[in-house]
Amino acid sequence: MKLAWRRRHVDGGRKYPLTRYQQYLRGPLFMAALLVLSGCGQGEPTAGKLLIAGSSTVAPLVAEIAARFEAEHPGTEIDVQAGGSSRGIADVRRGLIDIGAASRALGPGEAGLTEHAIARDGIALIVHRSNPVTTLEAAQVRAIYTGRTDDWGTLGLPAGPITVVNKADGRATLTLFLAHFDLDAPDVVPDVVVGHNMQGIQSVAGNPGAIGYVSIGAGEQEAARGQPIRLLPMNGISADSDSLRDGRYPLSRPLNLITPGEPTGLARRFIDYAQSPAVHDLVRQLHFVPAERP
């Protein structure tokens, strides 16, 4: 059988030499096309399909909401990708995606877009559970993050070097944290630079002298799962979903879906759904606070 096929193939080759060359070339050309395409991204969004991308803090929540939405609306398909708030906002502006996800409010340079809050989150300082520190003044946090204070002993605590955990460039969490404490990025002297929340939590959980900051949602969830970390109060207000809910927590932020102008069609339906009480249990499950409907 195999032999017969080969003979036919060889015979056919004499008649159509070009076709065979094309066959050999098709592979590389296809690969080249793939490379080029993967460089510039996305296809045309179809009627029943939404592409959502942005903040890695918002993405897990949107993914949960999307899964439930798909289950209730058969035939729809919602893709969720994590990649940072600014990237999500830039991509939605350029029309590469249908909805952007951002873990911060829109900035002054981002006019013309519409934001839809689906939840509130905060940023909390975290330390190892064995660290006796109860609270830190803003000035102390500034001193720690600029390297002027590098030992817990100078804060009146048991002596030991402070390991400063900072976020990598481009994260909304970093930007908000620096703005809140009035710090400039080049002035920060970190000992460890991390990417996502989990890596930050792991770095603090594995080092009794470490201090870092994460999304309250992620921090509460991991602390509840038994990671040896503690969320420090900010300006005397405890970092948990309760103080987020009554609006007292100082370093809080909206978790937004971003669209170019008013959304229509499927995007409208999905955003309405994501803001409805039907998903509040998912929001709470991820230790965020449901947004007040405007």
Binding site: V10, M31, S86, V192
Partner: protein
């Protein structure tokens, strides 16, 4: 047209495909970084005060030198640890271990080669880093990176050395034994010189893997952009820089990350070229 010509054509197409892919990758990296290289300027990638790529227009700082040094240091450190260990374990496995233990040991090394890098990284983050941190905080450091990479490339070195030693003709051994040489003298005088090209190839592949490893070093090295003064200080490698920031980068920042990739590609090309020369000179 006969079967031979068809085969030859197929092989040519395969080779062309491999070459074409490499060339395409190079062209792609050059194209993506061209704008940044022109607008920011090559020199600033080595002279800026630090790496702060997200500052407002014009104020970004793009010094890649600390990361280039980070990649070089972790790679050199890893190979310095892994090369002797790998060679010794290959010698042990082939000439000193009882056959049962030897083959068991070889299986173990093969298994080590198959462990995904993210597993090494995770193990490093939860075990190795706190261990080093208890001695010299913060723990996430150049040293941790070197150790993790050494464990990762050890199997490559050991397996290639083992295969190269196994490929030395038995006649050489018999002749050496007939001359009354001891086992140690046979190994250092006959086996190792004869197996050198194979061992060299293994080392080369190991260096390439160490320089290109991303996930594991990202998790254990601390990723602070600085030229480390000590083994226990954190570093950021070129690969970690791309992995940490690419998904979040826009504009100049994104371009600078493509330049990072181009630099890494050039570095690996240089390494391969240098070791090829070295092997020819000794071969």
């Amino acid at each position: 047209m006969n079967a031979d010509r068809i085969l030859a054509m197929g092989l040519r197409a395969g080779a062309a495909l491999a070459g074409l892919l490499m060339a395409l990758i190079f062209v792609f990296m050059l194209k993506e970084s061209a704008l940044s290289l022109r607008e920011i300027g090559v020199w600033r990638f080595a002279s800026d005060a630090g790496w702060h790529p997200t500052a407002d227009a014009g104020a970004g700082r793009f010094n890649l030198l600390p990361m280039l040094i980070g990649t070089l240091l972790t790679t050199v450190g890893a190979i310095v640890i892994a090369a002797p260990l790998g060679l010794l374990s290959a010698l042990f496995c082939r000439f000193y271990a009882p056959p049962v233990l030897g083959s068991l040991y070889r299986r173990l090394i093969e298994l080590l080669a198959g462990v995904p890098s993210v597993i090494y990284g995770f193990w490093g983050l939860v075990v190795l880093v706190p261990l080093i941190g208890a001695w010299q905080p913060p723990g996430a450091s150049l040293l941790a990176g070197m150790l993790i990479l050494a464990v990762m490339i050890l199997p490559t070195v050991a397996l290639f050395a083992d295969a190269a030693l196994g490929a030395v003709p038995a006649d050489h051994l018999r002749a050496a034994a007939a001359l009354g040489l001891t086992r140690g003298a046979i190994i250092t005088g006959v086996l190792l010189p004869a197996a050198r090209p194979g061992i060299g190839t293994g080392l080369l592949l190991a260096v390439g893997r160490a320089a290109g490893e991303t996930m594991a070093v990202l998790m254990v090295c601390g990723n602070v952009v600085q030229i480390p003064a000590q083994l226990t200080e954190p570093v950021r490698t070129l690969t970690a820089n791309i992995a940490l920031e690419m998904a979040y980068a826009l504009g100049d920042h994104r371009g600078a990350l493509y330049v990072t990739g181009l630099l890494l590609l050039l570095l690996v090309t240089l390494l391969v070229g240098a070791s090829a020369r070295l092997q020819r000179a000794h071969g």
